[in-house]
């Protein structure tokens, strides 16, 4: 399924990149026609940003069109698609080079196609823009966090923790509804990212484990309906400091 999604995304990207020159220039109406196909919360703002982009020299109009087409065609939650396009909007509004950040947005779209919960990573990128970090730092941050997200997802799978579609029950102890699984995945990965970015060493795995435990416990105590205490107990029983160390080491290597 994931491999199929990746192939589909790659094909769409290739078609988008090669077809546009054959069929003419990209203008605002091109974007307008595409944006109606996306579930955007602020379509007018997106269009205004794209209009600004088109007026700038070197704006990669064709690649942006391809990204929007990719978002339309890629299976994934509407919220995630909205977030990725919002990142593009903020990139333009904040005066960043769209060319520099477009690869990161494509990475996020591919991760969404894999079924990864990418919204938290988009927010980290938006934070980077708010902090006026360089495009390369933001892109590296996205890449790093996506690696961790995949690493933690694989770890949870290894520990027989997996997601099931919402509303579909399973008798397996490690089967969690998708929203709960994604909440655990996101928060474990995010805690490791914060730990490493804050200067923590993967070899301080006991400290790292304590931080994961602390965050999950706080969230389970009323701050997140998606993380019940039983899920926290389950994940803390099945993963240990050494597991986190391995994931963190893979992310920094």
């Amino acid at each position: 399924m994931n491999a199929m999604a990746r192939i589909l995304v790659t094909l769409l990207l290739l078609v988008g990149l090669t077809a546009t020159p054959l069929f003419g220039q990209v203008d605002l109406s091109t974007y307008e026609q595409l944006l109606v196909l996306l579930p955007l919360t602020e379509p007018d703002r997106a269009l205004a940003a794209l209009e600004t982009g088109l007026s700038q020299p070197g704006f990669p109009a064709t690649q942006v069109k391809s990204l929007i087409e990719l978002l339309i065609a890629t299976p994934g939650p509407n919220e995630s698609k909205n977030e990725i396009l919002f990142l593009l909007v903020r990139t333009i509004e904040s005066g960043y080079s769209v060319t520099d950040l477009l690869p990161a947005e494509q990475m996020l779209t591919e991760a969404m196609a894999e079924g990864l919960p990418i919204d938290g990573i988009v927010l980290e990128a938006l934070k980077g823009i708010a902090q006026r970090r360089s495009a390369i730092v933001i892109e590296q941050g996205i890449d790093h966090r996506l690696s961790l997200l995949r690493g933690v997802r694989d770890l949870l799978f290894q520990k027989s923790l997996f997601s099931t579609p919402e509303g579909q029950s399973s008798s397996a102890a490690g089967a969690l509804p998708e929203s709960r699984f994604n909440a655990l995945l996101t928060n474990v990965a995010d805690t490791i990212s914060d730990f490493l970015e804050g200067g923590g060493s993967p070899f301080d795995s006991t400290v790292l484990y304590a931080q994961v435990e602390d965050r999950l416990t706080k969230l389970s105590q009323g701050a997140s309906p998606s993380i019940p205490a039983s899920d926290v107990d389950l994940v803390l029983e099945r993963i240990g400091p050494d597991d986190l160390k391995r994931v963190a080491l893979e992310a920094v290597s």
Partner: protein, 192 residues
């Protein structure tokens, strides 16, 4: 029992008075607030008592610098004190930082910035876009109340465009991109 918004009023009033007097003396504010809370006198009396205690002495720039840190420390001390005593923060619907979180999930963001021209909060709740804080009384205390659903929120203040990520009212701090960011946990109230 003193409620959160009463406590905010007391602190705001005291700080406003300090600022009006060119911030003369606030170093021991936390002790005075703690002392007052132990007194349990009615709210109006507390304010009067507070005003009486904070008598104007000498002003100056140094005092202004001191007050910013001392004010934040005062908020922190009161938060710690209340957490320890199980006073207003005992309400499970209140966030982990408690002091600035009301039961309706209206989360209060407060930052003392007497000389600032503009103050905003940015956070994941706003897609890291600036939400302006107001200082309607020109007392140097900037506030904004933002309704938030239960969750974990990262944020920072922008004071005249400069990032300030270490809010002392935060539940914790994280460091990303080489800068700190504050974190608050907002509870849903049922403890589930």
């Amino acid at each position: 029992m003193m409620k959160n918004h009463d406590l905010e009023d007391v602190l705001r009033d005291a700080l406003r008075h300090e600022v009006a007097q060119e911030l003369p003396q606030i170093g021991a504010l936390e002790e005075r607030v703690v002392e007052m809370l132990g007194d349990r006198s009615p709210r109006r009396g507390l304010i009067d008592h507070m005003r009486q205690m904070i008598a104007p002495t000498r002003g100056g720039r140094l005092g202004q610098m001191v007050v910013v840190g001392a004010t934040a420390a005062a908020f922190l001390m009161v938060g710690l004190f209340l957490s320890d005593r199980g006073l207003p923060l005992a309400d499970p619907s209140v966030g982990a930082s408690g002091l600035a979180t009301r039961s309706n999930q209206e989360v209060l963001f407060v930052v003392p910035a007497p000389e600032a021209v503009s103050v905003a909060v940015v956070g994941d709740f706003s897609n890291w876009e600036a939400v302006p804080l107001a200082d309607d009384n020109s007392d140097g205390i900037w506030t904004a109340s933002i309704p938030l659903s239960p969750g974990r929120y990262e944020y920072a203040f922008l004071i005249d465009g400069l990032w300030r990520g270490q809010d002392l009212l935060a539940d914790e701090h994280v460091e990303n991109y080489g800068q700190f960011t504050s974190v608050r946990y907002v509870s849903g109230g049922d403890g589930a």
